[in-house]
């Protein structure tokens, strides 16, 4: 198990290096961002001085190496627009994004598990058909449209929830601000997980050991929840890892719709303003979160299924 974890960690570091290189390479093509840091009436000499000072006159590989050197020490440079350290800007917003993504994941699983299990045990009934129709619909609706419809119905029309931002005044206010964005972000994965849990359950429900459990005279709850569900969990856990990536990506859209002060909102604004260091910082730190989570999931997976870690 120890070597397995170490091998996965080394792999992740390589991937992370690749990610930063890729993003750096893409954004390097946007051109010289020096003019963002100087006033419009700056002389040519001043522009040159700032360019040199910020290191933009260096070849890209030198800039990349310097970026890496800083990044391993947690220093992602300074925002060209706000003049503040990037690390602080991103870390300040990371909790909001993680809170949103975790709430979305929780809502998604809380709905997907009962729906998926019920649909599988009541296969081909009206309930099953209705649940799966709902799931396909959920997979077909764009995140931003779900968000806007929720805002229109529950924010604008019924006035039950605030129409944007993050709560400031205690847990009740925070929950009221969180609920619509979390449902919005969770819809897609909720739909996909419900379908996945259903088909995974159908598979295990047909296995012999489940038939044995029935034959022993166990009740439905015991057979379904204690015997079948355990094995049905394995594929679901892998997907939850992938889900988290989709959630972090979807958070970019959701945060824009709800003016949620997270990393997604920051990165969209930074791209619009060509604030190069902020973009690279956001992307790298989001990738770190995602990769770390996947290592954790892989280790968990290896723990659940010993065949994996020997491969």
């Amino acid at each position: 198990m120890g070597t397995y974890i170490i091998r996965r960690l080394l792999q992740s570091i390589l991937v992370l290096l690749g990610v930063t290189f890729l993003v750096y390479f893409i954004l390097f093509q946007t051109g010289d961002p020096t003019f963002l840091s100087v006033s419009t009436d700056a002389t040519q000499q001043e522009v040159e001085r700032v360019r040199h000072q910020l290191g933009f006159d260096q070849p890209w590989y030198v800039q990349y190496a310097e970026f890496l050197g800083g990044a391993v020490r947690g220093n992602f440079g300074t925002s060209l627009r706000q003049g503040l350290p990037v690390t602080g800007l991103v870390l300040e917003r990371m909790p909001a994004t993680l809170e949103l993504a975790l709430a979305a994941l929780a809502i998604s699983l809380l709905v997907a598990f009962p729906v998926g299990i019920l649909a599988a045990t009541r296969r081909n009934t009206r309930l099953d058909q209705l649940a799966m129709l709902g799931a396909v619909l959920g997979q077909s609706a764009p995140t931003f449209f779900v968000g806007i419809m929720l805002l229109f119905i529950f924010g604008g029309m019924l006035n039950w929830f605030p129409i944007g931002g993050r709560g400031q005044t205690g847990p009740v206010d925070e929950a009221r601000h969180l609920i619509l964005p979390a449902i919005t972000l969770g819809t897609f994965s909720m739909a996909r997980n419900a379908r996945l849990i259903r088909s995974s359950m159908l598979e295990t429900l047909g296995l012999e050991y489940v038939t044995v459990a029935w034959a022993k005279g166990l009740g439905e709850t015991a057979v379904v929840l204690r015997h079948a569900l355990r094995n049905a969990l394995i594929p679901v856990i892998t997907v939850i890892g992938l889900d988290f990536g989709a959630l972090l990506g979807g958070a970019i859209i959701t945060e824009t719709v709800f003016a949620w002060p997270g990393v997604g909102n920051l990165v969209v604004k930074a791209i619009g303003q060509k604030d190069f260091p902020v973009v690279v910082g956001c992307v790298t730190m989001l990738a770190v979160v995602f990769i770390t989570l996947n290592v954790v999931i892989d280790v968990l997976y290896g723990y659940l299924d010993p065949r994996i870690r020997r491969a």
């Binding site: 890729l22 997979q139 604008g156 159908l202 990536g245 970019i252 619009g272």
Partner: protein, 305 residues
């Protein structure tokens, strides 16, 4: 939806060719599942709208009169019979813009998938067939891309390339080829060890003929299934980019862009500005997804995409 396939045994004539039997099975599965017929209907309707938008749209999509600003749909009290689905804040006809919006969603959805498929299949074939260093390079590249949320990468690339139809297609292809490459590679790894491939190699067939004539046909089924779901994903991704104002440019009507424009009207209550384009996306993607479900069950009921 999925896995609720009831295969209706059709009365088949005793002797028939393999191809005809295949077609009969396809038809039987189609009839057994009304949802697929509905999906086909939706998709044909959307394609029709996109193709003939210039002919059937009652108004110009890009021009409007501010006097007609924010009129509700025709059946509501303040509605105007000239504008069936109402008008937006600039007085442009929602129906006409929805019809033209179909063009962008479909064009981007299908071309990006074809492009990504071509690249992904080629790389997957080569990686799985030759293995070794090519395989390592392609798969590590895939790992790197999978560590970034697709939309984030698309935003970054589009920020560099700038808006425009070609750039959007290119961006979405760059961000989605990995799925094909991984699946094709995985299947090639097992197919290349099969007896018929060994036999072809034994009689002296070259690498390219083996890959194209013996291996490719055996991985095509999975590719078709993945591609059908990828069309849905790509239409959604384009809509998201349009929503962020990063897609084909502000002048071209897109469903995502229309929803974004309506965002400011949530408080003021002009729901039709964003609801109709939004529903168009949902309906189109639903149609594509249902067809994907059917294709998956047809080709391989065990596949879980």
């Amino acid at each position: 939806m999925s896995a609720t396939v009831v295969v209706v045994p059709l009365p088949l004539p005793a002797v028939q060719t393999g191809r005809r039997r295949k077609r009969a099975r396809l038809l039987a599965m189609l009839l057994a599942r009304p949802s697929t017929l509905v999906a086909l209907g939706i998709l044909l309707l959307v394609i029709f709208c996109g193709l003939f938008a210039p002919l059937i749209a009652p108004h110009a999509a890009r021009a409007g009169n501010v006097i007609d600003s924010k009129l509700p749909p025709a059946w509501l009290p303040q509605g105007d019979a000239r504008f069936l689905l109402g008008t937006d804040e600039l007085g442009r006809d929602i129906l006409s813009r929805v019809l033209f919006g179909a063009q962008i969603s479909l064009t981007v959805g299908f071309t990006a998938v074809v492009l990504a498929g071509a690249v992904g299949i080629t790389l997957g074939l080569v990686a799985g067939y030759f293995r070794g260093i090519v395989d390592d390079v392609v798969m590590r590249l895939a790992d790197i891309q999978l560590a970034l949320p697709q939309i984030l990468m698309a935003i970054a690339i589009l920020a560099v390339l700038g808006p425009g139809l070609r750039n959007v297609v290119l961006t979405l292809a760059i961000t989605t080829w990995v799925t094909y490459a991984r699946v094709v590679r995985g299947e090639v790894l097992s197919v290349r060890e099969k007896d018929f491939v060994q036999a072809a190699r034994a009689i002296g067939a070259g690498h390219l003929p083996i890959m194209l004539r013996h291996i490719l046909p055996n991985v095509l089924a999975s590719v078709i299934v993945i591609a059908s779901f990828a069309v849905a994903q790509t239409i959604l991704a384009e809509a998201a980019l349009s929503f962020l104002g990063l897609s084909v440019g502000p002048d071209v009507p897109t469903w995502g862009g229309m929803v974004a424009a309506g965002r400011d009207q949530i408080i003021t209550g002009q729901w039709w500005i964003y609801t109709f384009p939004g529903l168009s996306i949902v309906l189109t993607v639903l149609g594509v997804n249902l067809i994907g479900d059917w294709l998956r069950d047809y080709f391989d009921p065990r596949l879980k995409v």
